[in-house]
């Protein structure tokens, strides 16, 4: 039986090199986009989690009425029809994140009137 002779034709070295260069360039150009996207998605996840923790802490602080004593001045019309200013004493509560990398500098702010 005469075995059919395999084709000797293939990619030349140059073709292979050019292809590798093109693929490398492509991957190199897309990788920052992909890496940034992945990092952002991960950041969003941890930020969401951290936000809910913050909210929990804030709710606890609000319930306990723990915060810095501050006054709010309100201005408007009274039921008697005159323009008035009212001063309300309460607690200013700021709950900040405890992020190790210090990336999340945000905090939540609330003002509460402590329960008697």
């Amino acid at each position: 039986m005469v075995r059919e002779k395999r084709s000797q034709s293939g990619f030349t070295l140059l073709e292979v090199i050019v292809a590798i260069v093109i693929i490398t360039a492509l991957v190199a150009s897309f990788s920052p986009l992909i890496a940034t996207s992945v990092r952002d998605i991960r950041w969003s996840g941890s930020r969401t989690q951290s936000l809910y923790c913050l909210r929990g802490e804030m709710e606890k602080a609000v319930a306990a009425g723990i915060g810095e004593s501050k006054a709010i001045v309100l201005r408007g019309t009274s039921q008697g029809g005159s323009i008035m200013e009212w001063k309300v004493q309460g607690k200013l509560i700021k709950v900040e994140e405890e992020s190790q990398d210090g990336e999340f500098g945000e905090c939540l702010v609330s003002f509460v009137i402590p329960k008697e």
Partner: protein, 391 residues
């Protein structure tokens, strides 16, 4: 390498496919990450806006509460000026700072209570804006509680007949039978039921009791005839009692009948083991005359609307008739602080006369006329209705 070479074309095809796949994958990932970033930013602003809106509502509620106690006409109403939270000074300000976290707009308004229709509730609506996110919260007062409400069952709404109550309340209760010209009263059958169970009183408990119709102990002389002998009292256990007309009844002893003595007792409620009311030393400056006991506690009772009278019935042979009717209070003194368990006792009035009875009570410090400028009005009660967060 020639481009028309099939092998070269295949290499380019593979490279193009890779470009497309990478572009699609990268693009989708980038879009998703952008969406996530926006969502987180929105959630963050939304959460902050919620707390700022709550802050504004709470501050206004506190102003409302304080003003209700001092002067209800100074309570805030309508749209208040915008309040900003200033990052730099860590404080709230009425002027717009350069770097502010958010803005709060609060409106106080009245809305019709849907159930009763003839009652309004107070609404504090607070809207906070942080970035592009806005959150609104509402604090709403409970509608007034009426004595005929099924949970209380103090009286029948249609007839005004007092029942043996199911429960008391910790908030103000309004007594308003349906008929505008009607009144609240006991029926002989209720009095007899009480007599059978060895009770001599019915007690209504609330923080404030407001009669919007007159209270007459009985519906008429026929009820006195049918009513049981002895003393019966309507006990009102409240920090403030507002009458809109009152009749206490006494029927003199007949040949074959014992006297009927139907009066009213005002008591101070006890909440969590503590007697409510104001300390004598705190009300001294607001008392017109009389002996104030510094350490005693006092409530307030108002007879300023309608006539408050003592009515005496007597018999002539087999006929009962109205023998006497006296006003209890003078026109210039119809609002009093009362000491716990002050008893408007018709039998005592029968012996002393109405004016003397009142003067003796003032001298003994059982009641103390309130100076006109310190009278409590109904608006104050509106401020006492608790607010709750509406979902």
């Amino acid at each position: 390498m020639r481009l028309r070479d099939e092998r070269g074309m295949m290499a380019i095809g593979v490279a193009l496919m890779l470009i497309v796949v990478l572009a699609l994958f990268g693009g989708a990932l980038w879009q998703y990450s952008m969406f996530e970033l926006r969502r987180v930013e929105k959630a963050e602003q939304d959460m902050q806006a919620l707390f700022l809106a709550r802050s504004g509502a709470e501050a206004v509620m506190e102003v409302w509460r304080q003003a209700s106690e001092s002067d209800p006409s100074t309570r805030p109403f309508g749209q208040l000026d915008t309040l900003f939270y200033d990052h730099a000074s860590n404080s709230f300000s009425l002027t717009k700072p350069e770097n502010y976290l958010g803005a709060i707009n609060v409106t106080v308004k009245h809305e019709e209570a849907t159930e009763s229709g003839d009652d309004v509730i107070t609404v504090i609506e607070s809207t906070a804006t942080v970035g592009s996110t806005t959150r609104t919260v509402r604090l709403v007062t409970y509608p007034y509680l009426y004595g005929h409400h099924e949970d209380l069952a103090w009286y029948l709404e249609d007839s005004g007949e007092i029942l043996i109550p199911k429960a008391g309340a910790r908030e103000p209760v309004i007594i308003r039978p349906k008929k505008e010209d009607g009144f609240v009263h006991f029926t002989p059958s209720v009095l007899r039921t009480l007599r059978q169970s060895d009770r001599s009183s019915v007690t209504l408990i609330a923080s404030d009791i407001i009669f919007e119709r007159p209270f007459r102990f009985v519906g008429g002389k026929e009820d006195v005839v049918k009513g049981p002998e002895g003393s019966f009292a309507l006990e009102l256990e409240a920090e403030r009692v507002f009458f809109s007309g009152l009749e206490v009844v006494f029927e003199s002893e007949g040949v074959i009948r014992d006297p009927r003595n139907y009066g009213v007792i005002v008591r101070l409620p006890v909440i969590a083991g503590e007697k409510r009311g104001l300390l004598g030393k705190d009300i001294k400056a607001t008392v017109k005359r009389g002996n104030v006991d510094d350490n005693a506690r006092y409530g307030e009772v108002y007879f300023d609307i309608g006539d408050s009278e003592y009515v005496e019935y007597d018999w002539f042979l087999v006929f009962i008739y109205e023998a006497d009717r006296e006003s209890l209070f003078s026109d210039d003194e119809k609002a009093f602080y009362f000491k716990d368990s002050w008893y408007i006792n018709p039998e005592e009035i029968h012996r002393k006369g109405a004016r003397r009875f009142v003067e003796d009570a003032i001298s003994a410090g059982e009641i103390l006329p309130i100076r006109p400028e310190y009278l409590t009005n109904r608006q104050y009660l509106d401020g006492r209705r608790p607010f709750f967060w509406e979902q």
